[in-house]
Subunit: 321 residues, 2 copies
């Protein structure tokens, strides 16, 4: 089963929305569907398409995994409430933090977040919902390098802990799978989603767990949350491709009130890039860099040192973890 | 016993040299003296004063502690050879590396370097030399915050592993103790030392061990050595107060030849300061910063990421360790 790409220049968003709403309606019939909303553009578009097609036969849930940015759960819930789409907020913070406990290796950290989401939290939700239809925000870029079609969908069931025998009754719907990111943005705009949502900066899968070097404890995630909020406030108007704060595990010497203090270091990165394949550090003025450092050291407990990335990608990557 | 300060503005370097040479000659008489040359301005001045006073009855040794900057042992030995001053090069690399093995705490690292120098390497040298006179480059700033006089000198003997009973026969001579750094520089100039030596940037006591976060192994010190050489080359003409490279212990994600590589991060710091009490990061142009990052990632194996310090002192300190 090959996926037929709809190129962005030939995409008619209104017609696309009409088609997809009809397809979802036809597929689900009188049944129920379930989906997870992350607040990103892909899952937001899928939520709105599903809601137009099924109204309250679509159960959308937003999972608070303890790795969200400052105020994000409230912002996403508020937005969909204002659009008339009911979203169930599921507090899974303890479950994710337990899964991340003691893990310092970046790959293992990613795996822990993915497994907790699929096998445990969302898998349980799907199984308990009774819904046989699962709406997913997969886009073409997600499957470019994997085997498309049936095999991939099998893997999803496996990840959800649904027996392939049983899985016979389940069906996964991927209404935006023919689009790439810019196509999804066009549809998001046509659906009336605010620009702040569909033009938002890329955010890594493991969320704030990727912004902490070493173990992602509740305390260290809170430091990363505050630091990223400050960096986003100060660099929002810069027009950079992506910017972030990373909490290091290394301790460095600092001083407070005349005494040596062994403290935290925050690394700020801001990237100039077209497609994330290659990137250069943004040439931010020292007035802004020093203001950033001053806010990070004065507003976040324990921070005594702040650095700014000056390497390019490659050999660096955008994220540190 | 109080030390009488000679203010820099009232210092006549030629008269000072004449006085100190006479004092050393009178104190040592027909005996022998020993001193350790680090290559810094204080110990270099003391070596020249001692040599003028005692000629070959002064035994000067340069201890290679494995923590020196690139080419430093050769440079210092070459300079003093050209000045006609014999310097014994003592290879104590293995002893220092053994003492640093497994130590990650900055305070313990400093202590290991100090103890190895005094109690083991230099202490042994003093005891075995038979010399009863020890020339030291103590300056007034070194004793400002400690108790001056006898008690302090007692501590030196203790550090050298010389029994206070025995120490009765020993005597410590501190020819530059009445001066501060700028006074020592004036004397260095008058003694004919090259400007590169007496105007050189401050370098921390534990040397490159202070430029490595975590364990200072031979391999990690070599990385710090290469990184500091590159930073010094690129920033030498900047006129900054102090600049350095720090090898982090944290590993960050990078990529080489299309593959993920879990690599090293180097932090560059460059400070603007008058007296090191407060300091701000140098506002280096991004052309220079990017060149630095490019050299550090391409010339040093394993380095995938480079950052630049943007915090001020306080709450940061100049050095990270």
């Amino acid at each position: 089963m090959t996926v037929k790409e709809i190129k962005t220049f030939e995409l008619d968003p209104e017609a696309f929305i009409k088609d997809k709403v009809a397809e979802i309606r036809e597929a689900v019939g009188n049944g129920c569907a379930v989906n997870a909303l992350s607040g990103g553009v892909d899952s937001s578009v899928v939520t709105l398409l599903g809601h137009r097609a099924l109204s309250d036969r679509l159960k959308t849930c937003f999972i608070d995994n303890a790795l969200m940015r400052e105020g994000e759960p409230e912002k996403v819930a508020g937005l969909f409430k204002s659009l008339g789409v009911p979203v169930q907020l599921l507090d899974a913070k303890a479950e994710f933090l337990a899964a991340l406990k003691g893990i310092t290796d970046p790959e293992e950290k990613r795996e822990a977040v993915t497994q907790t989401f699929y096998k445990r939290v969302f898998g349980r939700l799907v199984r308990e919902s009774g819904a046989k239809f699962l709406l997913q925000g997969t886009i073409l870029t997600d499957i470019d390098e994997t085997v498309a079609g049936i095999k991939r969908q099998h893997n999803v069931f496996e990840q959800l802990g649904i027996d392939p025998q049983e899985a016979f009754g389940y069906r996964i719907l991927e209404p935006v799978v023919q689009l790439r990111k810019d196509g999804v943005r066009k549809v998001a705009k046509a659906l009336g989603l605010p620009e702040g949502l569909y033009n938002r900066m890329p955010f890594p899968g493991p969320a704030l767990a990727a912004r902490v070097i070493g173990e992602a404890t509740a305390e260290r995630l809170e430091t990363a949350r505050k630091a990223n909020a400050i960096v986003e406030q100060e660099l929002e108007s810069s027009g950079a491709f992506q910017y972030m704060a990373i909490v290091h595990q290394d301790r460095v010497t600092g001083m407070r009130e005349g005494k040596r203090e062994f403290g935290l270091q925050i690394e700020v990165r801001s990237w100039e890039s077209v497609d994330a394949r290659v990137a250069k550090p943004s040439r931010i003025s020292f007035d802004v860099l020093e203001k950033l450092a001053s806010r990070l050291t004065s507003e976040i407990p324990g921070v005594v040192s702040v650095t700014y990335n000056i390497a390019s990608k490659p050999p660096s990557t955008m994220e540190a973890v």
